[in-house]
Amino acid sequence: MNIVVLIKLVPDLVEELTIDDSGTDLERDWLRLIINEFDDHALEQGILLKEQSEGQVTVVAPDTEGVDDVLYAAAARGADKLIKLLGEFEQGVNSHALARASASVVQELQPDLVLTGVQAHNDLDGSVGPLLAEFLGMPYVGYISGVTVGDKKSIARKEYPGGLIAEMEISLPAVLGIQAAEEPPRYVAISKVRQAMKTATIEEQEIIELDSSGGPTIGRMFLPEATERATMIEGDEEEVAAKLVEIFQELGLL
């Protein structure tokens, strides 16, 4: 079983995001990047499948700050091959461009199964999975929270709203958008990650052109605008309490 996992790094929301001078993008100088949570689950699912049925896991990621550490950690967790896509990724690319760029690389790997996170919080033009499947000419199923693989086919559990789950049989090769791995992403000791940094190699693949056509153009990026419905009540505890009682009485609640 040849499994390819496509991951990307997204802005880490532990830091406050600011908008750059153009007003259409994030200020990227101060951004801290983190593996997209769903991609982390896709990676875990890939490694779980490898452990269950043997095979090889290749992790593919576009080159952004910190990606080497993420790839080495993936190796420490059990990934066999690491590929970094070199190109103009640092300033952010849309999902169309990323899917096109990775499709050529993924195609060459002749995978039986391609896993990626079902979504990312910066997928402004749709998630990468279905676009990638289209470019590869493979079937796609998203919102997957459990996968088994057999000969030329896979059974995947797809989540629907309302707690419904469907089991689907999919012909391989296919692309699956992972919602959750069967086990939470595992912890690897730092000493093992450090070991992987010495032993694993990151293969680099040059992406000459990034074609972002098909996605929307961002007209304006802005923070959620405050509505004027909330009233701040000033004063000490007694005054605030008295004012609250007054408001509740006016509204007929008391």
């Binding site: 912890y187 000791a189 730092i190 450090r194």
Partner: protein, 404 residues
């Protein structure tokens, strides 16, 4: 102790032998050979009664070459690295730093750790603090204070005292109150001090004792690099765990500075401090010895000296005090295993401690470790009759005793 990565996974028949040999490499590790199997360690362990493998039994399985069975059990994650076993061992076996920590390291290397602990370790690695807060905001607690706290990277000048603030004192809203109190004390004592601010990382001592040696070394190196950039005469810490790391562990990594816990530092300046303590605090106060100040480092008197200097305070001792102090449950990774340990034990060590405090009619439970205010305040909400008990850091009590 050097980092030891075994080549044999738990479950392998030669695992016991490899593990045993690794324990001999720990400082005083050879004392293991003289274990009497007296069981005192297991008896004194606050969770020993429900561990499938308390320390004594771990050693017997090790000697019987069947240690892989211990590794199949989760019971070692009940260990809060409180040094109670080490303290009473008649053979002076380094049970906490050796046996228990090494066992956690092996479980962690095998990827077998409680999920709760995982996020604290991942946060520590990624953000330099187990709380998962932005490292850039590490000094935000000091904003808006009357005294401007010097951040070394900004002031670019030597200071007398480098204050290693720590994770919870920097980020936890309850513990920040104690940090601000300490600023006030340093200010009135006219101390020239600075903090590392965003350059400070977790001291990582608790992560080390939770088995993540590599993470400890990584964060210690970062702290070492930051400290080496600046000039100062001495480090003081808010956190006994940071004190323990800087005093006993960092020097093994070549990071060596004079260090004191803030209670030692203040007790040394009592002549200067005493005249400022003019406000009477009419209260019965009991002091909880933090494991890493007391048992691990032998500091028992200074916190009491400070408390006794406060007019009006009557200091009383709980049943477990000084070297027999009870752990708050936060050490050795316990801070990040509350759910796991509750599931196993259905008791909290912090509640046990709060019951002891009210059994001696204490009005105030005084603490000197940043894990404790939140732990004991939470516990007090759960213990009947503890509604009036106030949990106060010694720094907060000292400020309360000063005129505004």
């Amino acid at each position: 102790m050097t980092a030891f990565v075994s080549n044999t996974a738990p479950g392998n028949s030669s695992f016991s032998k490899t593990f045993y040999d690794s324990l001999l490499e720990v400082v005083d590790g050879e004392h293991l050979r003289t274990c009497l199997q007296c069981g005192t360690c297991s008896g004194v362990c606050p969770f020993g009664y429900l561990m499938e493998f308390p320390p004594g039994r771990m050693i017997s399985y090790l000697r019987a070459d069947i240690f892989d069975r211990v590794m199949d059990s989760e019971s070692v994650w009940m260990c809060v690295s409180c040094y109670a076993c080490t303290q009473v061992c008649p053979s002076k076996i380094p049970l906490t730093t050796g046996l228990m920590t090494r066992a956690k390291e092996e479980l962690l290397l095998a990827g077998n750790i409680p999920k709760e602990l995982q996020s604290a370790l991942e946060n520590s690695q990624r953000y330099g603090n187990p709380l998962g807060e932005s490292p850039r905001k590490r000094a935000n607690w000091a904003k808006g204070l009357e005294t401007e706290v010097a951040i070394m990277g900004k002031v670019k000048r030597p200071v007398d005292i480098l204050w290693f603030v720590g994770d919870y004192p920097s980020y936890h809203p309850r513990v920040q109150l104690a940090s601000r109190a300490l600023v006030k004390l340093l200010d009135v004592l006219d101390i020239d001090f600075g903090i590392l601010g965003p350059e400070e990382n977790s001291d990582a001592d608790s992560q080390r004792l939770a088995g993540e040696r590599g993470l400890f070394e990584m964060l210690a190196e970062k702290n070492g690099q930051a400290l080496s950039k600046y000039q100062f005469n001495e480090i003081i810490t808010t956190d006994p765990h940071a004190y323990n790391a800087l005093r006993n562990e960092y020097p093994k990594l070549g990071i060596s500075y004079p260090v004191r816990h803030y209670t030692q530092f203040l007790a040394d300046r009592l002549d200067q401090l005493q005249p400022l303590l003019t406000q009477e605090i009419k209260a019965k106060v009991t002091f909880h010895d933090p494991c890493y100040l007391g048992r691990a480092n032998g500091v028992y008197d200074e916190p009491r000296t400070l408390l006794e200097a406060i007019p009006g305070i009557k200091l009383v001792e709980m049943q477990h005090n000084r070297s027999t102090s009870l752990c708050c449950g936060g050490g050795g990774g316990g801070m990040w295993l509350d759910g796991f340990q509750w599931e196993k034990a259905h008791v909290r060590l912090s509640e046990w401690r709060v019951r002891e405090a009210i059994s001696v009619d204490a009005d105030v439970l005084a603490v000197a470790c940043p894990y404790e205010s939140p732990r004991f305040e939470d516990a007090a909400k759960m213990v009947q009759g503890a509604g009036q008990l106030r949990v106060k850091d010694i720094a907060e009590l000292l400020v309360d005793a000063m005129e505004d």
